[in-house]
């Protein structure tokens, strides 16, 4: 299959490329950028005039809900949603049912994903067996089976000795441990940021210290063990500052934030909107400002969707009893664009947060658009407005705090390995 993408605005955040030109794709790879070679015979021509052609997005947190939670969403539905969002590579957390703590489960997931033939799925293996926080999984074997890192997802790792041992063991092999920092005792029972809004609404709070205490512990243990750690979904200004200092010190730490935390704060909880029940909780406006700054200055490495499809039944409960999480893989791109526009950031810098920078955390070469490279591409209309509604989302999960928002930027085509996997 040979595809000619004609006269698009080519943006490759990693190389700084930003100009109008043609891209030719053959045998899954980009074979020409700039002008179409005279002897290129395309089977398909995509007119990209007025559109942006960029590397496909790399999303560091997409819950595909398989195995075990197929009533919420399926591999098929969520991979389609990801493609519709322009995502061509994703990492999925191990909090499936059963969790991804055995090679057989990882192999089956990869096999199922490959058969659906849509996009690159990079599983995170469970750090501990059954995510119980007690015994290590067979990390080396899981790595060989295709896991790109190891994580507890949102399951607690209370025992700091297990945490230290897991970091030591991972450091032996050079694996990255992905941790969402949370002190389980301080967070216990909480459902919202311990601040003005939770005080007013009478919701049990999760103090910022639940995050900072955990980040401090992890950073200290990183120094001890030499392990590489990716901190997931930071939510507090203090934690971001700690990461800034740790990076300056040279610790091998990286971190990400979610689109929800980039755009919303505790003030958005309104009258107990269950779509705003998230982990970590939405924090204060001050924290949100720090996230916006940290992402712009590179302290925060990546922006992710933290895609978590939740069925309606699990959201139609009193706030504290609802299941946390928001669907979002289809909103990653428009909300990155919105952030760029609102904060006056160069487009390429914003797009790097959803392409080359997260790819670097995965240790993969995806998230770039180079001559000779894999043709994982997203072609979008940056001007097109659309309204976020349950019907506009391909995901089985309709639970998003952005429901009703008008967003700009619509994916027209998604190509994975040179194949059109999505067309609007």
């Amino acid at each position: 299959m040979k595809i000619h993408i004609r006269q698009g605005r080519m943006i490759d955040p990693a190389s700084g490329l930003d100009r109008v030109g043609d891209i030719c794709v053959a045998a899954g790879r980009i074979v020409a950028m700039g002008e179409m070679p005279a002897d290129f015979q395309p089977n398909q021509t995509i007119d990209a005039e007025g559109l942006i052609v960029m590397p496909g997005l790399v999303d560091l947190a997409v819950r595909l809900r398989e195995p075990g939670n197929e009533y919420r969403a399926t591999l098929e539905s969520e991979m389609l949603a990801a493609c519709a969002g322009g995502v061509t590579s994703l990492a999925c957390p191990p909090d499936t049912s059963p969790p991804l703590d055995e090679t057989g489960l990882v192999e089956m997931l990869k096999f199922r994903a490959r058969n659906l033939n849509r996009l690159h799925v990079y599983p995170l293996g469970a750090l501990t067996q059954k995510l119980a926080g007690e015994r290590l999984t067979e990390m080396a074997e899981l790595y060989d089976a295709g896991c790109v890192g190891f994580s507890q997802a949102d399951f607690p790792l209370v025992d700091t000795q297990v945490l230290m041992r897991s970091l030591e063991y991972a450091a032996t092999f050079g694996f990255t441990i992905w941790l969402r920092p949370q002190d389980n005792w301080l967070a216990r029972g909480g459902v919202a940021h311990d601040g003005l809004v939770s005080s007013r609404l009478g919701l049990p709070g999760i103090p910022s210290a639940a995050e900072t205490v955990a980040v401090m512990t992890i950073l200290l243990l990183m120094r001890e063990t030499g392990a590489r750690v990716h901190l997931c979904r930071l939510s507090t200004a203090e934690a971001i500052e700690m990461v800034r200092q740790a990076k300056a010190e040279g610790l091998p730490v990286s971190c990400d934030v979610s689109i929800q935390h980039l755009h919303l704060s505790e003030m958005d909880l309104g009258y107990f909107d269950p779509n705003l029940h998230l982990v970590p909780p939405l924090r204060s406006q001050r924290d949100r400002d720090a996230i916006v700054r940290g992402l712009a200055d590179g302290t925060i490495d990546a922006l992710c969707s933290d895609h978590t499809p939740v069925d309606d039944d699990a959201k139609q409960l009193p706030f504290g009893e609802t299941e946390p999480g928001a669907t979002g893989v289809e909103l990653l791109l428009p909300l990155a664009l919105k952030w760029a526009q609102v904060s006056g950031l160069p487009l390429a810098s914003a797009l790097a947060c959803v392409t080359s920078r997260p790819a670097g955390i995965l240790g993969k070469t995806c998230g770039r658009m180079v001559d000779g490279g894999l043709a994982d591409l997203c072609i979008l209309d940056p001007q097109a407005w659309w309204k976020v509604t349950p019907a506009s989302l391909k995901s089985e999960g309709k639970n998003t705090p952005f429901s009703g928002y008008e967003v700009q930027g619509r994916v027209r085509y998604t190509l994975v390995s040179g194949q059109v996997v999505y067309q609007d």
């Binding site: 311990d194 601040g195 003005l196 939770s198 005080s199 007013r200 609404l201 009478g202 919701l203 049990p204 709070g205 103090p207 309104g270 009258y271 107990f272 909107d273 269950p274 039944d313 139609q316 409960l317 009193p318 706030f319 504290g320 009893e321």
Partner: protein, 316 residues
């Protein structure tokens, strides 16, 4: 979801979920309406036909004696049909059943739900769910709100003190876990009470409470100095020992209202408590049963205030 779900477009009351966000004029109207019902309660035939033929469901997911009973009496005096449902937490482990319950009762042509639930926001959720003609009254949701209690407390204060604009009111005890305290604070600040104090150890105060318009005290004697109204909050059994408080004895010693401590307040100060009381823990019997206590009148006025809320919701 951002507009106030309690109010109709014309500013009239559709549901009563929280006092937070209600205008002072509306609170005053409720109190004025309640005045009229106090008279009804003193009549020989204590019944008016305002809610005849209406079906009111008391939906209590948490046990209650006082609140449920006074709601029942209030509804009956308005000639409504009252159905009490006490749904224990154990038989109702999942909330789908909660909305299913609500749907089923709505199908029985309910006109009003009076809801108590252990989770903050439960009444809001039900209000969002029900058909437009059904009204929801929050009879206490988690730590969030107990608006009729807040209103009956305001009614009591107004009866004894006449005005709000010259008062100093102190709320003593477990503000953190108290829906009553939150409703009182919103009501007092909305009605123009210039000085509202909260007195408690740090472990029983929510973050940022001072931004709700109150002054924070940790010393009972200091906090009571010169106050007109003392409101004592109930300390729940499970909070008496643990990480927030070492023992009920120590709590009583430092935060229990004794006649000696009460002497720091104005001589004509009144003492209130939403009940049920823990005598010898948050309040000394000598104070609870003393001259300055208006704890039992609070209960009596609760009926008139709940009659006022129900009749206003029904459009009277």
């Amino acid at each position: 979801m951002s507009e106030n779900p309690q109010l109709n477009a014309d500013g009239s009351l559709r549901h009563l979920l929280t006092i937070d966000g209600l205008p002072s004029s509306l609170l005053t109207r409720i109190l004025d309406t309640a005045e009229g019902f106090v008279a009804v309660n003193d009549q020989e035939v204590r019944k008016v036909p305002l809610l005849r033929g209406k079906a009111i469901f008391n939906l209590f997911f948490e046990p209650s004696t006082r609140t449920r009973t006074t709601f029942e009496i209030a509804a009956k005096r308005l000639s409504a049909d009252v159905i009490n449902l006490n749904i224990s937490a154990s038989s109702q482990s999942k909330g789908e059943t909660l909305l299913d319950t609500v749907d089923n009762l709505s199908a029985m042509q309910a006109d009003m739900f009076v809801v108590r639930h252990a989770q903050s926001g439960a009444a809001h959720m039900i209000a969002r769910h029900v058909a437009p003609h059904i009204h929801v009254i929050n009879a206490g949701d988690g730590r969030h709100a107990h608006p009729t209690q807040g209103l009956l407390d305001m009614f009591t204060i107004r009866r004894y003190k006449g005005e709000f604009h010259n008062l100093c009111v102190a709320i003593v005890g477990d503000v953190l876990h108290s829906r009553v305290a939150r409703s009182q604070i919103h009501a007092l600040t909305t009605l123009g009470v210039p000085e509202v104090r909260v007195i408690a150890p740090r472990t029983l105060l929510p973050v940022g409470i001072s931004q709700m318009g109150v002054q924070v005290f940790h010393d009972l004697a200091q906090g009571l100095k010169g106050v007109d109204v003392v409101i004592i909050l109930r300390l729940q059994n499970e909070r008496m020992r643990g990480a927030r408080l070492p023992s009920p004895q120590e709590y009583f010693r430092y935060y229990g209202l004794t006649p000696q401590k009460l002497a720091h307040a104005k001589p004509d100060a009144i003492v209130m408590h939403p009940g049920p009381m823990n005598r010898g823990i948050e309040i000394d019997s000598a104070v609870a049963d003393g001259q300055q206590s208006v704890i039992l009148p609070q209960v009596t006025y609760g009926i008139a205030v709940r009659m006022a809320v129900m009749s206003m919701l029904a459009g009277n």
